[in-house]
Assembly symmetry: C2
Homo-oligomer: 253 residues x 2
DNA sequence: TCAAAAGTGTTGTCCTTACACCCATGT
DNA sequence: ACATGGGTGTAAGGACAACACTTTTGA
């Protein structure tokens, strides 16, 4: 069995006056992997693809790709996200860099994981076929390649942590939504039943929501008012501490 | 002026049966940079080095280094931290990956920033000479190379965010410390005067501290009791939400 | 004895929780 | 009419900020 060779070390370093390169250093691939969250009205889900190329062809995986020479890492993540979902201007946040020497057995690759929250209704069905993509409930994830499981675990923790204080979960909902829908989302994220009265007051007290004239009538006879985010206040208050969850017991490293 | 050439792309990819490498991809350097916090009893400080090599020789910089072929990123950060401080088993947390294509004009380098909290008294004076290292108060930082300023800003935010809920600032203090010393630390981190009565009660109510028999007598005539961390409870409660700061208004992206 | 910092007591306010209750409406 | 979920009222309890007060001791 041949060991992979670090080809870059065989290359002669350039040494022009202006642009010395660092010599004797090990160059490696840098990738991004996207943890894409969606909410179908009942459960939080992840969008995974069936890997169409070697190695590990046919196994489930996060959507990922290599960072190119011209782009920064965030741009790479946005590009990858668009490739799979067709969406731009999406909530997209860096999670962490994963760099175990053998995480990808093919070749040393450092992967920067990003997590994103999308409105599952906006997602283009079409594209999912090209990538054999599928939404999986968080509790029923398939076996995944490399360290993707670990990435997802970290993303879940981070989401819970963030959502306990910041109104980030709105990113998962359509433009118009009801408070009971929002509550279901929180309940699924924290796996915890919340008191509807207290929840509704807490959410409304943030002043982030604007009540609409119409109601959603599928969930109940009475119907629940639709709300929209007040985009301006949302931007403004995003970083303040809003304490959405009573006694959060999120564990984060 | 010659443009830097992406040498790796000129290399022929290996294609043995067992170990295909990814073809046509751009390989790059991966570095770590360490944001090292210390507390001198009055102010929070950062340990910076005067860069001893080109490019930008002689300018101030975070301590950093390249990730080698055999180690993971965290190990690289721990190695770099030990190189400069002589310390191991230090609080060391990944902050974020920085990957602007031109952040290091020499050559495309992705840097993973780590931040660490050390007891400034444990720091070995000796080593600082080899690296021309110096402690700078956060409010009087010198001009720094590359994007190091941005890394530091992010680290400050992260530290404030984390310390508002988790007892992480203890990492900056010696084994024995007094509550007024701890309060000074919090006050410097949040640039905010705290009520001593409320602060002391809040800290003690966590149950993390064990009172010692002896007192520190320099700060006052009466003297303040020394405390030690209850290591077991510290581990146990580290991730729960303890709310150290009234109305935190930390801004984090 | 007095100044200065450590530490304790006390009180009013605000927030939260738990849960009872009312509301609207499709069947 | 009644079941069902949406939404409001409310009282008890707890947490917390503000600040007055007591303690200790070196000079």
């Amino acid at each position: 069995m041949t060991k992979p060779i670090h080809i870059t070390q065989n290359c002669q370093p350039l040494t022009t006056t202006q642009f010395k390169r660092y010599t004797h250093q090990n160059r490696m691939l840098v990738a991004v992997d996207c943890i894409i969250f969606g909410f179908d009205g009942t459960h939080l889900k992840l969008l995974l693809i069936k890997r169409g190329f070697e190695p590990q062809k046919g196994r489930w995986s996060l959507m990922g790709g290599f960072v190119t020479a011209e782009e920064n890492i965030h741009q790479a993540a946005a590009r990858i996200l668009k490739q799979l979902t067709g969406l731009t201007d999406i909530y997209l946040q860096q999670l962490a860099a994963f760099g175990d020497p053998h995480r990808d057995p093919t070749e040393r690759t450092v992967s920067v994981a990003y997590f994103s929250l999308i409105d599952i209704n906006q997602y283009e069905e079409q594209i999912s076929h090209d990538y054999s993509a599928e939404w999986f409930p968080l509790k029923k994830l398939p076996s995944l390649i490399f360290d993707h499981k670990e990435m997802i675990e970290m993303a879940k923790e981070k989401l819970r942590y963030k959502a306990a204080f910041h109104p980030v979960l709105f990113e998962l909902l359509p433009e118009k939504f009801t408070i009971p829908q929002l509550q279901t989302l929180y309940e699924d994220v924290y796996n915890k039943i919340l008191d509807k009265g207290n929840f509704s007051r807490k959410i409304l007290s943030t002043g982030l929501l604007i009540r609409q004239k119409d109601k959603e009538k599928n969930g109940s006879k009475k119907g629940a008012f639709y709300y929209k985010l007040d985009k301006r206040k949302y931007q403004l208050k995003f970083n303040s501490f809003l304490n959405f969850i009573p006694n959060p017991e999120v564990q984060v490293k």
